[in-house]
Amino acid sequence: MKVQNDPRWVYDSAQRGDIALEEIRELFNFRHLIWQLIRRDILTRYKRSFLGIAWTMLNPLGMMIVWTIAFSQIFKAAELPAYPAFTLNGLLAWSFFSQTTTASMVNLVWGGNLLNRIYMPRASFALAAMGTGLVNISLSLVPLLVIMLVSGLSLTWHVLFVPVPMLILMAFSLGVGLLMSTFAVYFPDVSEMYQIMLQAWMFLTPIMYPETVLPEQYRTVVTMLNPMYHMVKLFRIPLYYGRLPTAFELLTPLAIAIVVLTVGWIVFTRKSDEFSYRI
């Protein structure tokens, strides 16, 4: 047998640097796996459905229609131009967050029996969930742009800024996803609890209503302490609001995302050595 002196396959437990950094290097080595996992998620999601990929676009549209009918009167639609575009815009950011963080947990537990036998960087599953989310949210931008035009909003060149809020949102979701998957490995009920939490969190985030409907005394608390408020807001700025963010509007979510991702990454990688006998 030819000896493959492929450095990928030489493993020395003493040569190990920092676990958190090591994981980044390993993810690069296993980039094909992440790509294949994204492919798998996208292919399997649409394979057996009649409308296929169109569902990615129809799903938030349906939600938007329901919400528009239900809430536009309550939330004084007159004050808020193009309510459908407003709510769809926020909804896309929220769906990205809730879907990718849930998928990170589910995928890790799904892969648990493999993680016991074959070495794979454990963060692959969360990263693949983010990749799938990016594909979905990008596809969903198409109906959003259509709704914006139909509602009489104009598209400006600021749309080109949209990848920035998407990446910040992804970094934040990855951090939360990694934290939640670490919990989910130890406690099977975490994913149930997380779904309930997500519901409450969504209603506390100005997605279907403008923050101005909140009573003055609570508004600062709900908005400032809710990281998703900043994420959603930043995502709306180049689209619904058609402008560029102020430094505060950009740096706040960026800082939150960096902190959450760093904490999530460190917690996840520190604990990941235990996964193989806990899952």
Partner: protein, 424 residues
Amino acid sequence: MNSHTASNILFGQKAASSSDGPIISLTDVSVRYRVPQERIGTFKEYMIRWLQGQVKNREFWALNGISLEIQPGEIFGLIGQNGAGKSTLLKLISRVLRPTAGRLVVNGRVAPLLEVGAGFHAELTGRENIYLNGAMLGFSRQEMEAKFERIVEFSELGEFIDAPLRTYSSGMWARLGFAVATDSQPEILIVDEILSVGDEAFQRKCFDRIQSFEAQGATILMVSHSMSTIETMCQRAAWLDHGKVVALGPARSVVARYLGRVKDHEAERLAEESSQVNDQRWGDRRLEIKQVRVLNAEGKEQHIFHTGESIVLQIDYFAHEPVVSPIVGIAIHKQDGVHITGPNTGFAGLDLGRVEGPNSISYTIPAVPLLEGLFHFSVAVVDREDSTVYDYHDRLYPFRIDNRGYQIPELYGVMSMQGKWEVV
């Protein structure tokens, strides 16, 4: 001892050609598990206990100061009771776990052989699953493209390769998984209880593949509860107990020590419970089989034969009380469970007469017609009516037929028919 010498002759060349140092080396490696003392199932419960200060983790050392070197091309066995640390060691080597202390160096690609089809997705086609599974083993798409045709061919799926896996039979599913897992040509193959799963055809395929890996000089790490498998397939073995290496050396002597210890425990247990039944041995032992040896024509102990060689089975037994005309019988089973034959002194019309005290009898196979594979002898002593079992040793004595280096004009199936072809 002889079987070990035999395997050294067979494998000696390979061992000598690869002197680049060990392919796997462990230096004083320890693994500590931290597990909750009580099972805490839910997060809520955990929080309550945590607030009460009642979360206690129990620590235990699954491996404790293991030092071990495995050479390229070696077939290395791991034995020991459940919980001795065998799986932990395999997990370390496959990088699933990291050592808590000590150093582990692995110089090659490790592939596990089992859990076939794990990681497949039912909605994806066979083709898509090949790439997905390949990526899990660490291969890029380009690398998998090079392997693709071979995998499809080996898995015998034909045009089904583009159908979703949910339309596959379990056999097709297994074939595909096996083809992907083993096409990767790993330098190190991990075989965990391979012979205990799957149907007969699948086991045979596994066995053949393992042999071809062996021939290509891959290093094989094997865990099995079957001592005969370890003894016949491995050159060296380590016996693990409570996370420590108790014995390390030629497979045969390690197995012997292990069995000796198990037997001691067994004897104690038997004395206590006065029960005379276990998995592989039963009978009232009025007449006891003391020793069974598998010998070659020269009367030397041997465990690897080639087709056509003669095998002598020497049975020493002891009659604790006088018995008239007992029957001594043997059986040969192939590893996959096929019963090859079952001759006994009764059928042969051999009357042993009145026996008492130590006695010996032998059964000679002049030219063994079996083809390659792993086989076991069973030996039993029963009364003249074949109604009382004195002592039954079920498949305790292994031997292997290995025809490498011999011109045997037959390849498939269990036995050579010694037939002749003639154009008529």
